[in-house]
Each structure stands twice: as structure tokens, then as C-alpha cells.
Amino acid sequence: MINKVKEVFAKSMAFREAGPLLALIIIYFLFSIAAPDTFLTWTNMQAIVRQTAIVGIAAIGMTIVIIGGGIDLSIGSIIALVTVAIALSLQNGVPAVAAVFIALALGTLCGLVNGALISRLRVVPFIVTLGTLLIFRGIAKGLSGEQKVDAPISWLNELVIVLKPQDSWMIFPLGVWLMVLLAVIVFVVLRYTRFGLHTQAVGSNEQTAILCGIDVSKLKAYLYAISGCFAGIAGLMQFSRLTVGDPTVAVGLELDAIAAVVIGGGSLRGGEGSVLGTICGALIMTVIRSGCSQMGLPNWVQEIVAGVIITVAVALDQLRRRSRT
């Protein structure tokens, strides 16, 4: 019996996602002991999932880019730019549905700019997206006159809020379901389509990909466009939470997204990464933040705790994988 359990355990640990999932459960459990009783409640779990939607969606896009051997530092700025654009659109009487399309189109456009610069100019992604991080943020501030942009009330404000009693059958608000849907789609695309295989091939060994006739620069342009599009959707969620356009929001969010990908088993050297792992990673980040603040720890302690947990989690995962080979 014990052997059987061991075997099942060993088998499940062989999955890439097992490490992050286990880490998520352990960390949640630890906070449940340390924090007040409210931590282990359904309401709290819902809150954590809700708070993860923004960074989670952005991190799904980041996962694709990182598997393809790249990095996208500009997504925080894209999110801010998108919140401003939505608010300005609504202010000017654009219907909410159209504002959604504007958000997606703007995010995708920003991503295409990244992709074009990376594949045409052959500048490394880190530098290109560091540059556009500043450029997009600057545009957001310019458009908004460096102020928050108010917007009329619309259904867009309800994507990530606490559900009203009559909507409780939905379990989670729309934004969370959107994150789940996107995760499933990307999981399928990465695993079962040519695009997914080529992305992994480029991140794993770019020379081989070229040799095998993969159009690497086109593929890279797509990767960043997708990442930009996901940042656009995350921007929509961000707007929904703030109900205003804010050019200074989501500073450093790209680093949270990268951390989520890496905690989830992604490798910054490319070729490796998992959507499900990334979602676990993003949830871990939220659990740490929420847990620390519910314990009443000051902000600076929270940051140290988050840093330590991220580093330890990734180091442990490395050890686990090394022991397997």
C-alpha cells in the first residue's frame, strides 16, 4: 500500500507542474497556520484567485515568449497604456464592447512593435522591450496628461469584482474564467499545434529551427504580438479593477509575470515552460502577498518574504529536476 502511494507520488512528481503545484499547496497551508482563521476560507480563496487574474493573464503571454527563448519587459507599461486608452474611449462615448476591441488591438500593436524591432533590427529582446517599457509608459502618461483618467460606469467595471449574490452561480467573476479559458487555449496551442512546436524549437535551439526551415523572425514577431495581446487583456482587467485609466499602474508587473513563469518551471534560456505551472506560480505570488498582509506584516517584510520564497522555490525545482536526470 505504502509502495503504491510512493509510486503514484513519484509518477505525479515527474510532471513539470507537480513542483509548483506542491509549492502552492504548501505555502497556502503554511499561511493558514500562521494567519488568522479567515485564511482557510472559501471567500479568501476566491479573493486570491480574483487578485491573480491580471498578473496571471499577462504571465500566460510571457510563458509563450519565454518558451520561445525571449523575454518581454514592456507588458507592465502596455497594461497602463491600455487602461488609459479604455478610459479615454469610454469618456468619448465609445461603447464598452468597442473599448474591449481597442484594448486588444492596442496591446497587440504594442507587441508587434516589439516583435518587429527584435526580428528586423536583430536587437536582443531584453534591450528592445526595456526600451519600449519606457516608450509605452511615456505614451500612457502623455495621453493622460499624467493624471488618472475617469470613465463613465459600464459593465467593464465588473470583470474582477466580488460577485453579486444573484450571480453567485458563476463561482468566479468573468475575468477569472477568461484567465482559465486563455490558459486552456494556450496549453492546447503549445502542445498540439505546429506553432507551439516551432516556438519550443526556436527557444530550444534556434540554429536547428533555422536549419529545419522554420521562419524564425516571423515566429518571433508572432510571439511578441501574442504577449502584447495578453497584456492588452490584462490591461482590461486592470481597468476593471481601478475603474479609471491610470498611467502609473502596473509598474514592475512584468517582473511578477516573469517570476510566475520561472516558478512554474520555465527556463530563461528558452525551450521550457508550462502554462499550468505559470498559473500556479502566479497564484503563489498572490498567496504570499495576501498572506503576509493578513498576518499584518509590514510591507518591507512582505517583499523580503516574497523574494526568499521565489528564490527557494526555483532552487528546489532545479534540484528536483537535476535528480531526475
Binding site: Y192, T193, R194, L197, S204, A209, L211
Partner: protein
């Protein structure tokens, strides 16, 4: 002798010219490959073999000349074009994606689809079929390529070529990292492919292997085709002058040297987790000791253990008055220096300048009161540039801008700038031209005459026989025999390297 037009040709290249900037890589290369043959391309480093191969595989586009495949004009613009036309190049390292599964690697670039999705079943089937055709049934299709052995990776690559319908395969040094057993298996496979009508271009520095497997060979020299012959009609010894051209007046230098006191003594040294199993040797001042052995025999691990780049788990190392294992920083200070076999990735920092690379292990020599003196650095660099006749614009030139031979001279100059007593040279003449080789031999001779000691690893037996005082053989991690050079013949040495001294080897 050169066949300008071969009516039987499957793939024909005529008067190919390629130049990169001012460097002419090929000028008048002609080559014809028949169906069902293994055709070897021979020549010194820099003769243009790899460029010609890249032209055939669509990686390099020729400035002039013509190519035809099955009698039809063939002008591949990319490797994909070549592959679609049926010409595949089997690279050694760079052609598999380490994270992808075996069947994914086989299918890459031509994946079977089922609507918008990959048809994983057909992908696995065609990979299995291609591998089965190669006689392999043991490679697991769901393993990532990173977990395969070198010979299995090669099989996967060949399977990819077969699965995509290629009839011409270009193999670049396919045996360089294989053991003898895997080499024999590869040769069996090549014979099988040959009998099924595949045509194979085979490039190798191991002439004995070429004579074992090839039907014909073409010699390139200075970018031109010199001759094409049937292997059966010419012996290895007759082929070498064709490659080198005019006989070098004096290739090797070995002055009358007398050996002094022992400088390096190893007793039963074993690597902690490397291929090095057991090595015992004594190297005296004034001596050049050669280490012969196959790639992967543990010969590099031997010098790397002495130099502290790899840990040892057993045995004793005594160098000068220092007993025990020391890390590289200490070894430099004690007076030992290593020239790495991997010049580009380990031996030199290729984006740094000649001067910086030269002084790197002993910066204190160009410092005054702890300040780095650019002038002292340049003076030192200029001194060695002159002494070793390094062809470069000056101390400020980056290593990248130098030719292979001149890069190697910088690496060697570093050991001399640091004034080391013990020179550990791992393949010091790899990838350098004949003239530079001769210069390197002369430098080694001078160093030994000055009472220093040299430990030299080489795959090229004639140079060991021409320069060393003693030659020891490394086989499967053990240093098996050591004799003075006059006691070796080239044939005996070759047999010893291949494991004839150890009959149990092939079974193990």
C-alpha cells in the same frame, strides 16, 4: 584527373567560387557525387571543405559556378530549399532541439497535420519507421533529445533526413565524437544507405576511416579541387601529399634535448566524476610528452585535472614543489598553464583584444602599484606579436577578427607571457594551417630547450611522432602505455589508440 562533367552524377558542382569579404574560400571547386556512393572530401583546414559543403546544403550561396541535382539546375537559397530538393546536412551538435522529443525532432519543419493540430500519431509512426529503416528499435520516441547519447542523436538526425525524403546526405566529421563501436555501427548504416541508393558526402580528418568507408575521394587545396580518385586506387600515404601540396621542407622541429629533473609526477590519478580512471606519469624538464588517444578517451580530462579544472578523487599530483590538487588560479601562480582545445568558447575571450587576452592570467605583470598600465600591456602584446609572428593589426585587435591560426598563437603566447614552467597543450594545432603548425612545433621545441616541460595532447599521430620525446596512450580513461618516440611506429601507435593493446575493450 578532375572530372569536369560526370554523366553519372547525382549532384554536380562545377567551378564554384565563394569569397567572404577579402578572404577567398573557394575558387574553382568542382565536385561530383554519384548515386549509391560515399564520397569523401579531403583537405587541410582552410582548404574549403566546409564551405563547399555549405554551398551544397544551401547555407552559403556561391558567387559563381553552377550546381545541378539529377541533371537539373539546383540553386538552394536556404537549408530548407536544399532539404526540399533532397539534400540534407547532418551536423554534429547543432541540429537537434534538446527540449523536443525524438519524434518531434525528426518531424521538425515538416510536421504531419490533422486540421489545425499536429498529427502526433503519424509523427511517431514516421519517426519509428525512419529509425527502423536505420536498424534502430531501441530509441524511445518520447525522450527529449538532450537525454540521448551522441550516437543516438546522430541516428535521429539521419532519421530526420530520411523522413523528409532526402537522397543526398552531407556528413561533417560524423565520427569525431563516437567511440569505435559506434563508428563501426555508423559504417554499417552508411553501407546500408549506399545499397539503397542514397548518396553520401563524407568529411573527416580520420583518413584511415575514410579509406574504410568511402568509395571515392576528392581533394581540395586552397579552395580548388585538386584531384578525384577511387579510394581503392590510392593509398593513404599517397593521398597526404595531395592535401599538403609541396612537401614542407621541415615540418617538425626536434633539437637535441636533454631531460632534467622531474617537474610533474602523477600517481594513479582518478577523476572525481570524469572519464579519467587512472593515470601515472612523470614529466621531466626539457621534455615534450605526447598523449595520444581518441576523443572521449579521457585525455582532455587528464590535463584538466592536472590544471585544476576538474576534481580528482584519488591518486597524487606533484608539480614542482607543490603536492596535491590546486585550482587554476593557483596553478598559474605555481607556473603551469593550459591551452584549451576549445579556443573559441574556453581558451580565449573572443570579443576582447589580443592584449587583454594575453595578460589575463597574470595582470599583475602589467600593473604598477595596483594600477593597470595600458602601455605596459601594449608593449607586452607587441613583443609577443613580433616573437610569434602573429598576424594582426595590433594589440587592440579583437580575437574574433583574427584567423584560427593567429588566435591559437595568441593562446600560446599567453602561456609564454606568463612564463610558465609547464605547458599543458590540448590539441594545440587543431584548426590551424600548415605553416602555423610548423611554427607552433618550433615554439614547443624552443620552450623545451629552455628547460621547461610540455605535455601535448593530439589526435594527429604524425605530429606526436615528429615533436615528442615520449608518447603515452590514453584509452578508456587509462594511461596505458608510455614509450620513447623511437620505440613507436605510426602503425603501432594507431593500434594502441584504437584499443588493440586492450583486447577486452570492445566487449566492455
Amino acid at each position: 584527373m578532375t572530372e569536369n562533367m560526370d554523366v553519372h552524377a547525382k549532384l554536380q558542382a562545377t567551378d564554384i567560387e565563394v569569397s567572404f569579404g577579402a578572404t577567398i574560400a573557394l575558387s574553382g571547386a568542382t565536385f561530383s557525387l554519384r548515386q549509391g556512393e560515399v564520397h569523401a572530401l579531403l583537405g587541410e583546414n582552410g582548404a574549403g571543405k566546409s564551405t563547399l559543403m555549405k554551398v551544397l546544403a544551401g547555407i552559403v550561396r556561391p558567387q559563381s559556378g553552377s550546381l545541378s541535382l539529377d541533371g537539373v539546375a539546383y540553386a538552394p537559397q536556404t537549408p530548407l530549399d536544399a532539404r526540399k530538393a533532397g539534400v540534407a546536412m547532418i551536423h554534429q551538435e547543432l541540429a537537434l532541439a534538446p527540449h523536443l522529443r525524438v519524434d518531434e525532432n525528426v518531424a521538425l519543419g515538416a510536421e504531419p497535420m490533422n486540421g489545425p493540430f499536429l498529427d502526433r500519431r503519424r509523427m511517431a509512426d514516421s519517426a519509428r519507421a525512419a529509425l527502423a529503416m536505420l536498424g534502430d528499435h531501441s530509441i524511445q520516441l518520447d525522450l527529449p533529445a538532450s537525454q540521448l547519447s551522441v550516437s543516438a542523436r546522430q541516428l535521429v538526425e539521419i532519421a530526420r533526413a530520411i523522413a523528409s525524403g532526402c537522397r543526398v546526405m552531407i556528413m561533417d566529421e560524423p565520427t569525431s565524437s563516437l567511440g569505435r563501436k559506434d563508428v563501426l555501427a555508423l559504417f554499417d548504416l552508411l553501407r546500408k544507405l549506399k545499397s539503397e541508393g542514397y548518396a553520401i558526402v563524407y568529411i573527416s580528418h580520420f583518413l584511415e576511416e575514410v579509406w574504410e568507408i568511402a568509395d571515392r575521394f576528392t581533394v581540395l587545396r586552397d579552395g580548388k579541387t585538386v584531384e578525384t580518385h577511387a579510394v581503392a586506387a590510392v593509398s593513404v600515404n599517397e593521398a597526404i601529399p595531395m592535401m599538403i601540396g609541396a612537401e614542407m621542407a621541415q615540418m617538425y622541429h626536434r633539437s637535441e634535448r636533454t631531460s632534467g629533473e622531474p617537474l610533474l609526477e602523477l600517481a594513479r590519478v582518478k577523476g572525481a566524476d570524469s572519464k579519467l580512471n587512472e593515470a601515472t606519469l612523470t614529466l621531466r624538464r626539457g621534455e615534450i610528452l605526447g598523449i595520444a588517444g581518441l576523443v572521449g578517451s579521457g585525455r582532455s580530462e587528464l590535463v584538466r585535472s592536472i590544471f585544476g579544472l576538474e576534481a580528482t578523487s584519488d591518486g597524487t599530483i606533484k608539480f614542482a614543489s607543490y603536492s596535491g590538487w590546486f585550482p587554476p588560479a593557483m596553478r598559474w601562480r605555481q607556473g603551469a598553464g593550459l591551452l584549451s582545445e576549445d579556443r573559441r568558447d574556453e581558451g580565449l575571450s573572443i570579443d576582447m583584444t589580443v592584449g587583454d587576452n594575453l595578460v589575463l592570467p597574470a595582470v599583475e605583470r602589467v600593473e604598477t602599484q595596483g594600477w593597470l598600465m595600458p602601455k605596459a600591456k601594449n608593449d607586452a602584446a607587441n613583443e609577443w606579436i613580433t616573437k610569434l609572428e602573429i598576424r594582426c593589426p595590433g594589440p587592440q585587435a579583437t580575437i574574433r577578427s583574427l584567423s584560427g591560426g593567429n588566435q591559437q598563437k595568441v593562446a600560446l603566447a599567453r602561456l609564454m607571457f606568463c612564463d610558465v614552467e609547464l605547458l599543458l597543450l590540448d590539441e594545440p594545432t587543431r584548426g590551424v594551417d600548415v605553416k602555423t603548425k610548423s611554427q607552433i612545433y618550433k615554439i614547443m621545441d624552443e620552450v623545451a630547450l629552455a628547460g621547461k616541460a610540455v605535455l601535448m595532447i593530439s589526435s594527429y599521430l604524425p605530429e606526436l611522432l615528429g615533436t615528442c620525446d615520449r608518447i603515452a596512450v590514453m584509452y578508456r580513461g587509462r594511461l596505458i602505455v608510455s614509450k620513447t618516440v623511437s620505440e613507436w611506429t605510426e602503425e603501432e601507435l594507431m593500434l594502441a589508440v584504437a584499443g588493440a593493446a586492450d583486447d577486452t575493450a570492445e566487449i566492455a
